[in-house]
């Protein structure tokens, strides 16, 4: 990569940040036990993707990336509403929030 940083930040830096955040989200999804935390990890992944969207949008000088980000936000909001409602229901019915205990969907 270029050694001398010019006045400004290379685009890939943003993308790397987004990549790292995404992986962190995945890690959270894989290793956390609390349903809500798992859900939040998903949100983290979405945010990481948003960042790269905006970065790409800068790269191409178009506004479309922002639009995608916007839509992702809307979808995330809807998802949060339904997901949290589901979590509440799950807690109501089995009084646990541990992912591994919610495993009746198996053979």
């Amino acid at each position: 990569m270029p050694p001398q940083l010019p006045d400004g930040v290379p685009l890939f830096a943003y993308l790397l940040v987004s990549a790292v955040l995404f992986v962190l989200g995945v890690a959270g999804f894989l290793f956390r036990k609390n349903l809500i935390t798992v859900f939040m990890s998903i949100e983290l992944m979405l945010n990481a993707v948003n960042l790269s969207f905006v970065a790409f949008s800068y790269r191409w000088g178009k506004v479309d990336g922002h639009l995608f980000t916007f839509f992702v936000m809307v979808v995330a909001a809807a998802e949060a509403a339904v997901g949290l409602a589901i979590i509440l229901t799950v807690f109501k019915n089995r009084s646990t929030l541990i992912v591994d205990d919610v495993d009746s969907l198996k053979l």
């Binding site: 995945v26 999804f29 894989l30 798992v38 992912v99 591994d100 919610v102 495993d103 009746s104 969907l105 198996k106 053979l107």
Partner: protein, 618 residues
């Protein structure tokens, strides 16, 4: 823009209203909608024709493109020329009359709204058929009227005979329609278009085919379609059974309009037929055969509607004979007059049946002359007309046909002549058995309400005066240039009229003068009589040769073999396969979200790695 589309659309509207909301509407309202729809379309047709009159050339209205596939372009376009105009008036006019009649006749049936919805739907399709400007649209109407006929024959669907009759009509028509569709395909292949003007232009340019060729094939296939729809040999068998339907239906669909669709179609395709003399000959022979066959059967029947059904068949045969002889205008003329008097006959029969409380067997009628005077009077007009008594409408058209046939083939002429006599004979027979002598039934016959006999009266006037009121051949001159056939030949006309009168005379002798005679005649003829009485066993023959083999074959091969064996086997096999695979895969479903997630991550990692290996995003 004359808004031709309104003509078929108005009945369709009626159909929609009655079909969708009829259950909630009161009977008067339903009949108002139905009658109003057809009456309005009649009036609109009148207006259009008035606006176009005199229709020199065809008036075409294109609405939108229906099919656009490669070179084939099928627009939805309606057209009016004089032929169409005549058919239009017949369909809407008589249709309206019969609607009015039906309001009274069906008054006490349940499914009242259903009946009128079907009737309007039929009007819609029939008008589409008549107005269509290309074969495909015509075919739509063609199939549509077939459907409606099926629905209406099976109107009393609780009656087994009715439903089977409906099926029979439908299936037999399929055979014909199959031929018709093949013909249409051939036209597409051969002419590359379906619109009438284009096809006929190209056909005009072609030489007359001496032997058999494309055109002949096309025409024969069209003829096949026509024989199905217009109940010609060999596909006429459905029409007599179609009498299971309510009488107005028999009058409208199975006498006046739908069955003449074949005639109309052949006449419409005249430009093709004149180039294919072989096909023309076929048409003529089919017509002749049908005429004779049906007429002879007509003699022996006792069910009044059956009698008229067979008479319809034979009259249609007449029309085809006329067409085959090249006298298209004469054929259409007969269509019109026949529409008048045959509709009248059926409606009259309906009125009689109504009077006798749904008794259809003539052996239990008789002496109704005094009990139902109006019906008798009107029916008499129809009787005279169909028997070809001079200067009645039937006489004109029949003479025109006979003249043409004589010019075509004298031997055909003589047979047709005899048939005419026979026709006169059996119609007179039915009249005598119904109205003369003393009443042999048990009900208390009574005259029908005005809504029923008013249409009868109108039709009576038409069937007497229709002949010299509308000189169809003259009207149709721009469509079918009047050849030498049109020339009146006095001797022929005298002979023709004589045949009719003789027929009536014989009938008088048989059924009024000496009632014992028919029995003796039947015994004398013996086998021949039984043969005719059983309609030449045609149905039985069909059963033996076609129907039962088909059914048996399907049972054995298709059902047991193909369906049960191959298809079910395949389905079950697929199911088992899926089950097996699933059994293997369900090991993956640990029910633990995290393991699923691991798989997802593995997949995405694989994708990204692959992307990197392949050299990034580009």
């Amino acid at each position: 823009m004359q808004h031709l589309w309104l003509i078929p659309f108005l009945p369709f509207l009626g159909f929609l209203i009655n079909g969708l909301f009829g259950k909630r509407l009161s009977n008067p309202l339903v009949s108002l909608v139905a009658v109003g729809a057809s009456a309005l379309s009649f009036l609109w047709a009148l207006k259009v024709l008035a606006a176009l009159a005199p229709i020199g050339q065809t008036h075409v209205e294109t609405y939108f493109t229906w099919i656009q596939s490669g070179p084939i372009h099928v627009p939805v376009e309606l057209a009016v020329d004089r032929l169409t105009a005549v058919m239009l008036l017949v369909v809407t006019g008589i249709g309206t009359l019969i609607h009015i009649y039906a309001t009274a006749y069906m008054a006490h049936e349940d499914g009242y709204y259903r009946f009128f919805a079907y009737l309007n739907l039929f009007m819609f399709f029939m008008l589409t058929l008549v107005l269509a400007n290309n074969y495909l649209l015509l075919f739509v109407g063609w199939e549509g009227v077939g459907l409606c006929s099926y629905l209406l024959i099976g109107f009393y669907y609780l009656k087994h005979s009715a439903s089977t009759a409906g099926n029979k009509a439908f299936i037999v028509n399929r055979v014909g329609d199959f031929g018709f569709s093949l013909g249409i395909f051939l036209i597409v292949v051969h002419f590359g278009t379906l619109s009438f003007p284009a096809v006929f232009e190209k056909a005009k340019a072609m030489p007359v085919e001496a032997g058999a060729g494309w055109l002949t094939a096309i025409c024969l296939l069209l003829l096949a379609g026509a024989t199905g729809k217009s109940a010609q040999v060999p596909l006429y068998v459905w029409l007599p059974d179609a009498m299971e339907g309510p009488t107005p239906v028999s009058a409208l669909i199975h006498a006046a309009t739908m069955v003449t669709a074949g005639v109309y179609m052949v006449a419409r395709s005249a430009a093709l037929f004149v180039k294919a003399p072989v096909a023309m000959e076929a048409v003529a022979i089919v017509g002749l055969l049908t005429a004779v066959l049906a007429a002879t059967i007509g003699i022996t029947q006792y069910d009044i509607k059956k009698v008229y059904a067979y008479s319809t068949v034979s009259q249609l045969g007449y029309m085809f004979l006329g067409l085959g002889a090249g006298a298209f205008s004469a054929g259409i003329w007969h269509v019109v007059t026949h529409a008048f008097f045959k509709a009248l006959l059926f409606l009259g029969a309906g009125s009689v049946i109504h009077a006798c409380h749904h008794e259809q067997d003539m052996r239990y009628m008789g002496g109704l002359r005094s009990k139902t005077p109006i019906t008798f009077a009107t029916l008499t007009c129809a009787w005279l007309a169909i028997s070809g008594v001079p200067f009645t409408s039937g006489w004109y058209s029949k003479e025109a046909i006979l003249g043409a046939v004589h010019a075509h083939h004298p031997w055909m002429y003589w047979i047709a002549l005899v048939t005419a006599g026979v026709t006169a004979f059996y119609v007179s027979r039915s009249m005598f058995m119904t109205f003369w002598g003393e009443y042999r039934g048990h009900a208390h016959p009574h005259e029908s309400p005005v809504a029923m006999w008013a249409p009868l009266a109108v039709l009576a006037v038409l069937s007497i005066a229709g002949g010299f009121l509308f000189d169809i051949p003259h009207i149709l001159e721009p469509v079918f240039p009047r050849g030498e056939h049109g020339a009146h030949d006095l001797t022929l006309e005298i002979i023709g009229s004589a045949a009719g009168l003789i027929g009536i005379g014989l009938a008088w002798l048989f059924y009024v003068a000496s009632p014992g005679l028919p029995k003796r005649a039947a015994e004398a003829l013996g086998g021949l009589y039984t043969l005719v009485y059983n309609k030449y066993f045609v149905d039985e023959v069909y059963d033996a040769t076609i129907v039962s083999p088909l059914i048996g074959g399907s049972r054995a091969l298709l059902w047991k073999g193909l369906d049960a064996g191959v298809i079910d086997g395949a389905v079950n096999g697929a199911g088992l396969l899926a089950a097996a695979i699933g059994g293997g895969l369900r090991r993956l479903q640990s029910g633990n979200i995290r393991s699923y997630a691991t798989w997802v991550v593995a997949g995405s990692a694989a994708v990204v790695v692959l992307l990197g290996v392949m050299g990034g995003a580009r």
